[in-house]
Structures are given as C-alpha cells and as structure tokens.
Symmetry: C2
Subunit: 346 residues, 2 copies
C-alpha cells in the first residue's frame, strides 16, 4: 500500500521529470522539496511505488521515471488544474475573431491550442444534425459536369461534383432547381433524404436517369457528416520533443497523418473516459492505452465542445507521455469552453 506521502512523492517525481527530462533520484527530491524526512525515507517510499509499478528505473542505478500507470494515477488523483497564466488567458482573448467563416475560426483555434500547449493540437469539425434544409443550388461547370451545393439553416455548406452522362440543358436545370427547392426547403435532414428517394418518379423516363444521379448525390450530401474531418497544427512540436520517443518520431507522424485513426481515438475517448474525467471535462488517454492506434508512446487529452446546432465535436492535444498534464488539461478545457461560447447561441 502506498502511503499518503508516497503519493506526494509520485507527484513530485512526475513534476520534476516533466520539467527536467531527467530521471529523478531520492536526493534531488529532498533537496528540491520540503518533505522533512531524509533521502533514505524517500527511497523506501520509492521502493513501494516501484512495487506498484507506478515508477520504474531506466537502469539499475539511476533515478526513477513515471510509468504510464504512474501518469494515470497522477492525472486521476494528483493533478491540480493549474490555472492558465495571464499571458495564456490573454492569448485566448486576443484570439477573439472578427467575423469569419467556420473554417477560419477552427483553423485559428487549432493554432491557438498548439501554441498554448506546445504540443500537436487537434480540432474536429462539428456535425450539425438537428438542422433544416435552407437552399439547394445546381451549378453547371461544363456541358457534362455539374456542381451541387447544399446549405442548411445552421450554416453547413456541402458541395459535390458530378459527371453527368447526358448533356445539360439550362432550362431544364432551372426547372429542376426550382422543384428541388420547393420540395426540400424547410425539411429536416432525414425527411429531406426520404423525399429525395421518390423525387425522380415525377419526371419522364427520358429525364429520370439524370435526375436520379443528382438526387442520389444530394442524399449523400444531406447525410454527409463533416465530423469526419479534423484540423491539426503544431506537428513541429513533435520534433522538438523528439528525445521523448524511444525510436524515431516517424511512426508517430505517420499515425497522426491518418485522420481516420485520430477520429476513432477521439470516439473511444468520448465513450471511455468521458465520465470519469468529466469532473473537469477533459479526457486523458495515456501511452500504452493508445497502443492500438500506433500511438503507444503518446498521450492524448481531449474535450468536447458544442455549437448552436446542438452538435458535439472534440478538440484536444497530442504529445509525448512526458508532458505537462496540469497545464495542458487546463488549456484544453479553456479552449473548448471558449469555442463553445463562440459557436454557441449567445
């Protein structure tokens, strides 16, 4: 059983190791922290911690380093959410955007988060599900190529290109556009999709294939989920913290370029760690817990944010397990809240 003081020792080991990047020994602990006991006593506590596999020794005679399990205990029980520094607060405030589109807001958010944490930052696009159809537009690009644009009342805009088999005819297109808008505008998304299924039936057999092509594309757009996109910034920070990765950073860079992987990871974090860390709303996934994703040497912090459309998406940071959890959790939480406010109904 690890004593009260033992946990305190774990805390300072994590803190010092994160700060110095060097294994921390019993002597340096008593020097730097006022425990009021001798190094030998600390050594006894450390032996306990090692039995519990919360810390480990890189080699027989050297300081100790936290294990993944140790970080986990630190995050769950010991980390105080260090309040952001005034400079950090200011960075968030200064970020207040002029009017700009969603793409810009998210792009700036991801950069902000990366600067606050000095890690790789991730922001998932929100999906707006409870929205209604606002407008449908058909744009002929060439004689056989058509662009469809689909706009919802929550501001989602989807565009698609179609190569049509038959040549396009302007008058017919105008008619089709009018009929589509008449039929769809104001409908909820699932209703709109249902209505589109039967839509081609009202046309002559001759026109029907073309119309069917358009409507099936529109169905895709209606149901399309922008949530499968995410933004990333600060990959350079991985190189900066290169020494924290045993081999090369190549596999890590490779893994994070696979957006699907990260989206799955976000999904799992929502499911698994959503509630436990829910106290402050930041989920943490550490080291080997991410092994399935090729990210066994990294930790990921994430938090949900909401938009006026009522949708929930995630944002977070990714970095070496040896990272400043206190600061980064606070930053992720602050940015998520800020973004919720910015995109929310206020």
């Amino acid at each position: 059983m690890v004593s009260e003081r033992g946990l305190e020792v774990l805390r300072v080991i994590v803190q010092d190791y994160v700060a110095s990047r060097e294994p921390v020994g019993s002597k340096s602990i008593v020097e730097r922290h006022a425990f009021g006991v001798s190094a030998a006593t600390i050594r006894n506590d450390m032996a306990l911690l090692e039995d519990e596999e919360l810390i480990t020794a890189p080699h027989t005679s050297s300081g100790r380093v936290p294990t993944d399990k140790g970080y986990r205990v630190f995050v769950d029980q010991l980390a105080d959410l260090r309040p952001l520094s005034p400079a950090q607060r200011q960075a968030i405030e200064a970020f207040v955007g002029q009017s700009a589109d969603l793409d810009d807001v998210l792009a700036r958010t991801v950069r902000l988060l990366s600067q606050l944490t000095h890690q790789v930052a991730l922001v998932q696009y929100p999906s707006l599900s409870s929205s209604k159809v606002r407008h449908v537009e058909l744009v002929p690009l060439t004689s056989t190529r058509l662009m469809t644009v689909f706009i919802t009342d929550t501001g989602r805009v989807e565009q698609r290109l179609i190569d049509v088999s038959a040549a396009l005819d302007d008058a017919f297109l105008a008619d089709l556009r009018a009929r589509l808008n008449a039929a769809l505008v104001g409908l909820g998304l699932s209703d709109a999709a249902a209505k589109l299924e039967a839509f081609p039936d009202q046309f002559s057999a001759e026109r029907r294939p073309l119309v069917a092509q358009v409507t099936s594309t529109l169905v895709e757009q209606v149901l399309a989920n922008r949530q499968d996109r995410l933004l990333m910034a600060g990959t350079a920070n991985l190189a900066r913290t290169e020494d924290d990765f045993s081999g090369s950073i190549y596999p890590v860079l490779e893994a994070i370029e696979e957006q699907v992987t990260l989206l799955r990871l976000f999904g799992e974090m929502e499911a698994e760690h959503g509630a436990p860390q829910g106290a402050h709303g930041v989920a943490v996934s550490i080291g080997q817990e991410n092994a399935d994703f090729g990210l066994g040497q990294t930790s990921v912090l994430s938090s949900g944010y909401t938009t006026s459309g009522g949708s929930v998406a995630r944002l977070g940071v990714l970095g070496p397990t040896r990272m400043d959890y206190s600061n980064n959790m606070a930053a992720v939480r602050a940015v998520a809240r800020y973004l919720s406010r910015l995109l929310g109904t206020d």
Copy 2:
C-alpha cells in the same frame, strides 16, 4: 573547364549519393559505372568539379558530395525525367475520383503526390477569377448572427459569419436576399463588387447600417482569394529523411507550417524559374536558394496547374536537397497534368 566526362561524373555522383546517402569515392565510381578509365582519372575530373564548387568533401579524406550548385547543374543539364514506373502510373489512374467536391479532390491529390515522391507534398487552392455570380444566400443562425454564402458559376463557395448589431427580421432578410440575387446574379466579380458598394443606398437610413454590414462582407467574399490556402501531406517523410538535415528537423517543420511562407515561395518560383525549367514545366529551387524562407536545407519542386475557371495554381513537393530529382520532377509534372485534366474543361 569541366569536360564532357566530368559532367557525366557529376551525374553519377549525384545519383549514387542520392541512392546510398554516402559520400561517393573515385573507386566506387569505376566499380559501379563503365567509364573505361581508371580511378585516378576520375579523381582528376573530381578535382576539377571541386574547383568549380560543384562537389565538396565532408572531410579531407572521404568521398565527395554534391553542393547546391552541383544539384543545380544536375537538374538543369543532366537530369532525365525518368518516366514513372508502371506502379506509379497505376496509382495516378486508380486515383480517378468518383464525384466529390473540390476539397476532396485536392486532399486526395496531395496525398497521392506525397506517396509518389516520398516527400512532403503541397497543393495550392485554385483561385477562380473569370467567374460570375451564381447565387447569394443569407442564413440566420441566431437572432444576431448571420451567415452569408456566396456561390460562383465555376463552383467556388465562400461562407462567412457576421455578428449584426440590430436584431434580425425574417421578412426583411427574405427581401434583402431577393434583391441581392436580382442585382448580382450573372455579373462578373469586379462588376459585382462595384455594384455592392452603392447597394445600401436604396434602403432607409434605419436599415442601412445592417445592409452595409452585409454588403461589405459580401465584397470581401467576392474578392476573396482562396489561393491563400494550401494543403500539405507527408510531413512524416521529413522525419524519415531526418539524417539529411544537419541540425534537427524542427526548424523545417516550423517553416512549412507557416503557410504564408510557402505561398510566397511558390510565388517566387513562378516568377523566377517558371520559364527556364519551363521545358518540362517543373520549377526547381535548391537548398540555399530557399534560405530566405528558413528552408536553406531543402529543395522545392513545383509546377502550375489550371482549372476550367482559367485560373492557375501550383502544386509541388518539398524535401531534403538530397532527393531523387528525376523521379520527383516526373511525378510533379504528371500529377499537375492529371489534375489540370480533371479540373479542366474536357
């Protein structure tokens, strides 16, 4: 003066060095290539090449390595555009997209290029200048927040968020939307911008501030240049080729995350090297030629591509100076041509 054979020696030095990553010596040259002369003769040629600063020796007694100047001569005079391998051709063909929007096409293109070259790939968004207004849409998100959507007949879609001071009124919005479309649809972009300037005058003094807010946003959108965005893929390849960078790859990763920098670099390449390398349409910028951009240890290859809108944008790759120019130039050219065909009027 460097002899004919001297240049041939330079060629094999570049080729062997790129392949082996090791300084190449006179002996290994005569072993691997049928020059029909002895190593001593090659050594004489190499001494000449060194006088011309085309190659250099990492240390007194070791093989030679090409200088930036040497790569330049290689690219300008010696590189044959090695035809793509069947597998590479196939990768491009397999890439033929189903109907999908511009974002998807470019995202897939950038990944393709990165896989073909094993380098960082870059694709600049096209700007569509000779297009006409197709449709304007106003979407109220909350009582004081409005989204404007702007669509051209070439398929560009721009969206912006505005916080309006006065509360929004649906009937008025519908009227405003109708009037805007009536006034603008069919106009060229500069004409539309001009017309928007005077547009608020037709409204009552009470309404005018709100309308002015909307029109000024629309003017921005009309003139907005999507060319200031670019996509990137394959940053992991930098880590893979890490040894080719003297220090860390951190400054390189940092530089390429600054999109503005890369866009300026693309701009300069268009201006300076467009014509000279124009023979095959691929501009090459080597090592110290990029020092201004913090990319003194990297080379950048780029080529323009065109869209049906008549606009020209660039795509290319970035990697260590020690890269396979022959293959990469061919890949950049092939992908640029392919993309032009895909987005062009055919």
